[in-house]
């Protein structure tokens, strides 16, 4: 499981935790999140590749 950080706002997506309150189950890999998903804190699009891997 990896963690991904939004380079605009610092939001961290942790694959292990997911975002159950947004309908993204724990364990959902970054690759499996829909392309139209946007950062919940700042709105940057997933398609802009703005998330960077910060931990394995």
């Amino acid at each position: 499981m990896k963690k991904w950080e939004c380079v605009v706002c610092g939001f961290v997506y942790d694959e292990a935790v997911g975002m159950p309150e947004d309908g993204i189950a724990a364990g959902t890999r970054w690759e499996d999140i829909p392309e139209d998903w946007a950062c919940p804190e700042c709105g940057v699009a997933k398609a802009d590749f703005e998330m960077v891997q910060i931990a394995a």
Binding site: V8, C9, G10, M19, E21, P40, E41, G43
Partner: protein, 381 residues
Amino acid sequence: MEPIIIVGSGLAGYTLARELRKLDAETPLTLITADDGRFYSKPMLSNALAAGKSADALATADAARMAEQLQAEILTHAKVEAIDPGARSITVDGRPRGYRKLVLALGADPVRPQLAGDGAAEVLSVNDLADYARFRRAIENKRRVAIMGGGLIGCEFANDLVAAGYRVDLIHPAAHPLERLLPAPAAEALGDALARAGVTWHLGASVSRVDKAAGGYRLTLSDGSALEAEAVLSAIGLRPRADLARAAGIDTGRGIRVDRRLQSSAPDVYALGDCAEVEGLLLPFVMPLMQAARALAKTLTGTPTEVVYPAMPVVVKTPACPLAVAPPSPGAEGEWHIDDEADGVCALFRDAQGRLRGFALAGAATTKRSALAQQLPAVLP
């Protein structure tokens, strides 16, 4: 063919350029910036210290790389001195340049405090990457930093500094931090958490004098008290950069007034980001500018599109007490219902019919943000 010109290379300018290029790879595009044109995220400036990131590390691409990515011409260290909307021309460092569409993404200036004393001119503010580099040099090998202003930026910097081991004095004129965004119990939770993390509060006071002293500065407060600090950071507010538009006869209020197509009172002149007042709303946050950039990119490429603002809770980056706040719109009728929980505060603003109109969440309650945001009305439907 004249280019689309974007003035400004902050998040607003670069995000718009990126959105434009998704829709149109051909139209000539020029960005003009007063700084060096490096891409960085401004919200990261207030939490980079504890994360161990230098100013250079925050810059993820230089102007040459951005120009290549965006297939754009980027003029750095260039000043736009005037706009002539009638001639579709701007003056850049004394020379005219024509545009087909002009977008002002100018940002905002920090409000400078009115201070007496021989150290007043050395008070820092952090509004861009170059400021941030200066700030980092100023606090290097120092221990005590005073911050003027307990708003969003002041609280975020205070948290970042104490997390990095600094002693912080935070001077704020109101009785609570972030009092314009938060109801008192949530503001108290924030204030208490920052105090536990090491921030010394000076509430109900402002700084009147900053004098040079041995090893730093001596600050005199409006209540007559005094304190010492090795660096002083001002975070007392932002003023949208509207002077360039105002001088060109373009309609301005506090910011550059634009409609929902982000168009100003002048034909083919648009504005977005912290300089823009969209339908009377000044919202200097990232989410609104992302929405604006997407709508404006469509408008500029031939599909007139109005910006839609969903409910946009603001996340305050204070790890000592995480906050998410969606303030009720100005003048909204209703009242706060506050649930003071053991590990946080959940404050909900409901109207007479019981509908949710705003919220402020502190601590563990911030996990409810997404679910609550879905119940809120859109800011601009």
